[in-house]
Assembly symmetry: C2
């Protein structure tokens, strides 16, 4: 069954989720960022069915997130490596990690930790800052719809819905 | 069919995706961050089937991401508001937005823009920094498995797989 698509949505969040908004795709990307390169690596690490993994890897290659390259050890195998677009998902994975760390672990539960390779200390929380360097939270931002000519107006959710094409939206 | 679960995984990324790793949950959270509060708001904004929306909203309430409160206008309606845990997903949504902005729009395509409410300027890219404030990229970090007693060792993917319980992982 075809699902609703958001590839033409004016909202970059919806458009991103259209590409990577499923559990297995994100776990594959996480494993690739952690160094996984071969089909068997992903299968063992994720415990995912071969047909599911095959379909997700193909999709990630089609979207230019992974690419197939000759094996790094000179064998006849081919390996999956992240493109610049795939490596660009690093902040998404970090944000998911930090939310999980904050809200999904009990005190004392074993938990993996992201550290700075040089100083071997835990990294700081991701920060969103204004052009003038002020730290920004949820209540400090607005989302504006920009026209191609650069004019902006406040973005209502209705505007998002009306600009969605081919989505089957029931508005 | 029950899917593989990651709620006991030692990796905070996997545990987060176990809760919010589907398209509709993330789009509901995005809309809630943008101000949507009522069932009808979400349905119109997302163009999602009622049964899907009902199930996702119930799941998000069960996970403590949304809560039901009396309507803000004094009517008998109840509204969904984000808890602190739900508001904590703001960096995840920002990271998804910025990736989409960078990689999923053609030059000149209309696109919504996140701005700083005070200065009305686009926000900067999310930044990950070390304890000593150095800017960190993908090649500057390691992921360590921490024991409950605070000792850490390098995290191999095999360690993640072996600590996954009830996942049906084929290792």
């Amino acid at each position: 069954m075809a699902r609703v698509r958001f590839q033409d949505d004016g909202c970059p969040v919806a458009r991103s989720l259209d590409v990577i908004g499923d559990l297995w795709s994100m776990l594959i990307i996480r494993s690739a960022l952690n160094g996984a390169r071969r089909f068997g690596d992903f299968q063992i690490k994720l415990g995912v069915a071969r047909n599911v993994l095959t379909a997700r890897l193909r999709m990630l290659v089609e979207h230019g997130i992974l690419e197939l390259v000759p094996a790094s050890d000179g064998t006849a195998y081919r390996e999956y490596t992240l493109t610049a677009k795939g490596r660009g998902l690093f902040p998404v994975i970090v944000a998911l990690r930090q939310w999980g760390e904050q809200f999904l672990f009990e005190d004392g539960e074993p938990e993996s930790v992201m550290i700075d390779r040089e100083q071997r200390q835990p990294v700081r929380r991701l920060e969103l800052r204004a052009a003038d360097n002020r730290l920004l939270g949820l209540d400090d931002i607005d989302v504006m719809q920009a026209s191609p000519r650069g004019r902006s107006r406040p973005l209502g959710e209705a505007a998002v819905a009306s600009r969605r094409r081919g989505s089957g939206a029931r508005t």
